[in-house]
Symmetry: C2
Subunit: 326 residues, 2 copies
Amino acid sequence: MGIRIGILGYGNLGRGVELAVGHCPDMELAGVFTRRDPAGVKIATAGVGVYPLDRAEAMADEIDVMILCGGSATDLPQQTPRFARLFNVVDSFDTHANIPQHFAQVDAAAKAGGKVAAISVGWDPGMFSLNRLLAQSILPQGQSYTFWGKGVSQGHSDAIRRIDGVKDARQYTIPVPQALEAVRAGSAPELTTRQKHTRECFVVAEEGADLARIEREIVAMPNYFSDYDTTVHFISQEELERDHSGIPHGGFVIHTGKTGGENNHVIEYSLKLDSNPEFTASVLVAYARAVCRMNREGQSGCKTVFDVPPAYLSPLSGEELREHLL
Amino acid sequence: MGIRIGILGYGNLGRGVELAVGHCPDMELAGVFTRRDPAGVKIATAGVGVYPLDRAEAMADEIDVMILCGGSATDLPQQTPRFARLFNVVDSFDTHANIPQHFAQVDAAAKAGGKVAAISVGWDPGMFSLNRLLAQSILPQGQSYTFWGKGVSQGHSDAIRRIDGVKDARQYTIPVPQALEAVRAGSAPELTTRQKHTRECFVVAEEGADLARIEREIVAMPNYFSDYDTTVHFISQEELERDHSGIPHGGFVIHTGKTGGENNHVIEYSLKLDSNPEFTASVLVAYARAVCRMNREGQSGCKTVFDVPPAYLSPLSGEELREHLL
């Protein structure tokens, strides 16, 4: 039986899920749920309904996995526990400090409903977390490093846009090449925040705005920029749209460790993504397959990437996997 | 309760397992089993017994996981089914064509004994397989490539040593840099065997041997060298021992795929290992932890890296993993 997917929230991530489902012959899109007026939401898949979010509960029998595509700040803390009672769900919750609380709430809801929920799925948290776990389990006498970028940080771009006189902005996080090389060389360096990443900002200012003041406010902004070497470029709206309209991202998880006292080993996992939301969506869809299967086998409760046997992510059978991929 | 590890077969891999167990506070080495005369086998861990292989069965109550460190050609096809009846076991079986048969035999034995067996554990098969599976599940519209090296191939080194007039030899498998770059660029190239890897041989000839004939025999050897661009260097035994006594290896799993028709993504996993057997052993030990836990939870049967939830590889609790690694 095919896996019927619901998408809750139709922004960049929701559209990415729709595209990813289209690449999976074992899945079909069963509905899109939105807080907006459904009449105003045009989706890419012909013949699939767009419904108001509050209709979701009534359609519990028509959907095997609901993929929750809202934000971590306010949407998912409410939505994931709410819908995990009625649906198998997958979310990309990434507010790290609140993961234990989110896990507990979703676990209780999913167990009460006899459903499986996978939270914090994507690439970080997600594939990067999985690689940190694998590497540290294999080489416990070692050191893991995570670098992000080159890529667009939505949060940092938003922070710049809130500055007085800024019309639009795009911020790139960039790993420092020398830091990457030092880590790969196995020297297990202690790296400060400033030594690991630089930040590059492309800013469209309002006409007549004080550019020097805007630049000062950006580079001095606590948490976001003050701990980094930050470069600010003022460009036109046209240049921003022409050169910086993509949402690329990526990064590196590098673990170096020793065995036998003197033998060094380097484990490196890296991603280079043209579209952060479309890749994240592709990970969510693979885990949707897994939660559906785990639930059909009788499991319930909250899972993370740490708890899912990798075979459940693939449409191939155990025999096929052993023959073709092992 | 700590995990009591047995090592069966005390060559390079078995010694690597002993070192890896020493880095795991939740494990202890309970015994080493050998086909040689135990009196002649000196191990590194004080106070641990060395026993003849046939004593293993009598010690079933003293060992939680037996790590089988024999070869895939003749040892493991016999040993893994034999010992999977009495012990949780882990092996590194890597004769790809025979994996389905090996899996079936080990699965039957482990189920009969109520034990868990993990086969084909290491880095390829093993971590590389896992990365092929993850990448292909996330980006089904894509292409996976595996490159090996730079590293020593024991099988190819042995093949050279069998040539008349050769005293000793060491063979390195080397990925072709242009092939790596073409794959990373996302062009999904079709690559022949010759385009992916080169082979470099360091050969010690017997005095008076016909070097030109030896070189011709190497580069023309079917399966091993004839499909590759192969370089042969004749060196002295002293040079071989000084410059080529290590057993480094590694490689790359690169998957490129598209989403939304035009966005490219590159997933790359790579290993750079000073000691192939010590790293492989470290992977075996992490999976020993997993099979022990799975068996304590009541599971039985044969598993591969595809079937093991990653959390089982780590000594940390679910709470700790979510807090520190997710």
